[in-house]
């Protein structure tokens, strides 16, 4: 076993935390949520918190982020938030349906129930009770708790989050914006669990924004399962902008049936430690999966992206493009894997990771990985770690553009390749602004929010 003394201790603490609270957890949660806890317990007990000896977490020293005292909320926080004001300050003019998730709980002020076309958006726990058939068919079917102790940990403590259901042949009228907020008077451990089901021919645009409203330490372990039925088209964009004391571990499991399309773009701006794990499985022919990520980090931030695209069926395509700009003492990692199974012929799978280091102390580890068992496939991978191009800098300066502005233009151009892939146009504009501010050092974690805490 790869466990250090520290990870054993962390595991012991979490197991005892679960034991102390099992009663409350089970009372507060629907039957189906509770159904999976036993297995999750078993898996977590076996796996624990991944240490750097675990190959997938080699460059992400998680253990120290799990140390220290964190509160746990077992009930929804009664804190009143005006959904409208958060929505306004966060992404103005964005015509979306908005739901708020506060410390992992679907907020009671959300307008829930059915949207036009029979689209269902509600709390996860509520869905487990109201829509048991759909729920049972998908919940915990894609998230493999045997693969990662943190997945097991999420299932173990899962209580709430967002449930989205798009019926067959339905196009979501407006994008759905999920705003995850962390707000508390003390350091807090948060578990979020989301389930998104898009049936055949459904079209869904989902935007997730992660924010902290206070300068407490947050340790969030989030997990989203996404099911794309035949011919379904899903875009899933994420903006991560939490305070730099926060730790965000984020798993996204995507399960695609034939002819479906999944586009995911993650933009990581602020956050102490951000770990994104994407697992996409193409479980039918002709699927397309596009996973893009941009991370801009400085100070002591650490941003890690882990991607596994599993081509289990033929004629699929996938693209991974992750780009990072790291300054000061920031560190990052990219670990991307393309798996092409034996009978998955005619696959086209590409992967690219480009990074800019702006300081001598910034570090980036990148590890492309192909595992191919079929013989008729086109796959490529590439990774670069470098500095801003001096030739280009001089070219810009020779036109009268000051050095600082020239550097900004080049960084912005580097980042824009990702931002331009965001599916929702108005969100793209907003993100362009945020990236612009972030690169100029004008964006702090809280200044775009009307809610003043403390």
């Amino acid at each position: 076993m790869d466990e250090s003394a520290l990870s054993l201790e962390l595991k012991r603490d979490l197991i005892s935390l679960f034991r102390q609270n099992t009663g409350a957890l089970e009372t507060n949660s629907g039957r189906i949520l509770n159904l999976y806890r036993e297995r999750a317990f078993h898996d977590f007990d076996k796996l624990g918190i991944p240490s750097t000896k675990n190959e997938a977490y080699r460059y992400t020293p998680l253990e120290k982020y799990f140390q220290g005292n964190y509160d746990v909320e077992l009930n929804a926080n009664p804190f009143k938030i005006d959904v409208g004001s958060v929505f306004k300050c966060d992404v103005p003019e964005l015509d979306t349906d908005v739901v708020l998730v506060l410390n992992g709980f679907f907020h009671s002020g959300n307008k829930t129930g059915q949207l036009s076309g029979g689209v269902i958006v509600c709390g996860l726990n509520e869905a487990s009770v109201r829509f048991p058939d759909i729920f049972h068919k998908h919940y915990s079917h894609y998230a493999d708790s045997e693969a990662d102790g943190l997945v097991a940990l999420n299932t173990l403590f899962a209580q709430d989050g967002v449930f989205v259901y798009i019926p067959p042949n339905t196009v979501m009228e407006k994008p759905l914006q999920i705003i995850n907020l962390s707000h508390s008077l003390k350091n807090l451990r948060i578990t979020r669990r989301n389930l998104i089901v898009a049936e055949e021919n459904a079209v869904a645009n989902i935007v997730v924004c992660d924010h902290t409203l206070c300068n407490q330490r947050y340790l969030a372990n989030s997990l989203t399962e996404i099911f794309a039925g035949e011919n379904a088209r899903i875009s899933f964009d994420r903006l991560q902008n939490e305070n730099n004391l926060s730790t965000q571990i984020n798993h996204v499991f995507i399960h695609q049936l034939q002819n479906s399309l999944f586009n995911g773009t993650s933009i990581s701006l602020h956050g102490g430690l951000i770990r994104n794990n994407f697992y996409a499985r193409q479980d039918g022919p002709n699927c397309e999966t596009n996973l893009n990520g941009l991370f801009l980090c400085d100070d002591k931030q650490h941003v890690a992206n882990y991607v596994l695209v599993d081509h289990a069926s033929p004629h699929g395509t996938s693209n991974q493009l992750f780009k990072g700009i790291l300054d000061n003492d920031a560190t990052g990692s990219f670990n991307g894997k393309i798996l092409v199974r034996k009978d998955a012929q005619k696959i086209q799978a590409y992967q690219k990771n480009n990074n800019l280091l702006l300081s001598s102390a910034a570090r980036m580890n990148t590890k492309p990985h192909l595992e191919i068992y079929a013989d008729d496939v086109k796959c490529s991978h590439g990774a670069t770690v470098g500095q801003l191009d001096n030739e280009a800098l001089f070219y810009l300066r020779s036109r009268g553009i000051g050095e600082k502005e020239a550097r900004f233009l080049l960084m912005y151009a580097f980042a824009n390749e990702i931002v331009s892939r965001i599916s929702v146009p108005i969100l793209k504009e907003r993100i362009i602004e945020l990236v612009d501010k972030r690169l100029r050092g004008e964006l702090s974690k809280c200044n775009n929010c009307d809610i003043r805490c403390g």
Partner: protein, 248 residues
């Protein structure tokens, strides 16, 4: 406008320019010719402020100021323009954004407000026509995937946009077919005024059929070995650079 006195320039400790003297006055066009490796591009880059070219001796006065003390961007803001021999590709930066930023940086330097969107578009439309640059090009990233001719046209377009006082065109003719050459030359000629000046660096006489210089200088082994009127270019064309070399 520009006085170069005994200019010595080294790169990585190797002396390339070994004492250049040159004076350029307003309204003049100077051609600098010379065989490969004679230091023509080094002179251009040193004047534009490329840091890797170290000035070890001599002086350059531009508009009564010590040019060598200015940053590359300040040189540009004071009206110096370098047309690159090998324009750099900058993926992700559109020509529109690039030129808008450049013009606004020039304006800020002069204490002016940023240019209005409509004025900028009008200005750009005029200059695009001047060099026959299509909108499909200006909407693209700077020089990315451009042909050799398109890159050079883009240099002249930028020059037209920024309206420099002193333009230095480094081998703008290299890699151009005769039609592109004519368009580029036409652009340069239309931008000629009494109060600006141009230094045309070229290997061949061909360009000088279209941009008629007032003076021709021959650079060889880091020194100007001959200066004369435009007839010198024809003589060089006829006799080749070996003539200069043997005369040495």
């Amino acid at each position: 406008m520009l006085q170069i006195k005994d200019l010595h320039v080294s790169i990585d400790g190797k002396e390339i320019l070994k004492g250049i003297d040159l004076e350029v006055k307003a309204g003049e066009v100077h051609a600098i010719m010379g065989p490969n490796g004679s230091g023509k591009s080094t002179l251009a880059a040193a004047l534009a402020g490329r840091e890797m070219f170290a000035v070890t001796k001599g002086s350059v006065t531009y508009m009564n100021e010590n040019l060598l003390e200015l940053s590359p961007e300040d040189r540009a803001r004071k009206g110096l323009f370098l047309g690159f021999q090998y324009p750099v590709e900058i993926p992700g930066v559109s020509i529109v954004n690039f030129m808008k930023t450049a013009i606004n940086e020039h304006r800020k330097f002069k204490g002016l407000e940023p240019i209005s969107a409509s004025d900028f578009l009008k200005h750009m439309r005029e200059k695009k026509e001047l060099v026959g640059l299509t909108s499909s090009l200006t909407n693209r990233s700077v020089n990315e995937g451009f042909s050799g001719g398109e890159k050079k046209k883009n240099e002249i377009f930028q020059m037209a946009m920024l309206e420099p006082i002193l333009a230095i065109l480094d081998e703008t003719d290299s890699g151009l077919d005769i039609d592109a050459l004519k368009i580029v030359a036409q652009g340069v000629n239309q931008l000629r005024r009494k109060d600006n000046a141009t230094i045309v660096i070229t290997h061949y006489q061909r360009l000088l059929e279209y941009i008629v210089p007032d003076f021709v200088h021959v650079l060889y082994k880091g020194r100007i070995v001959k200066s004369s009127g435009k007839e010198l270019a024809l003589e060089l064309e006829e006799k080749g650079y070996d003539w200069i070399k043997t005369e040495e």
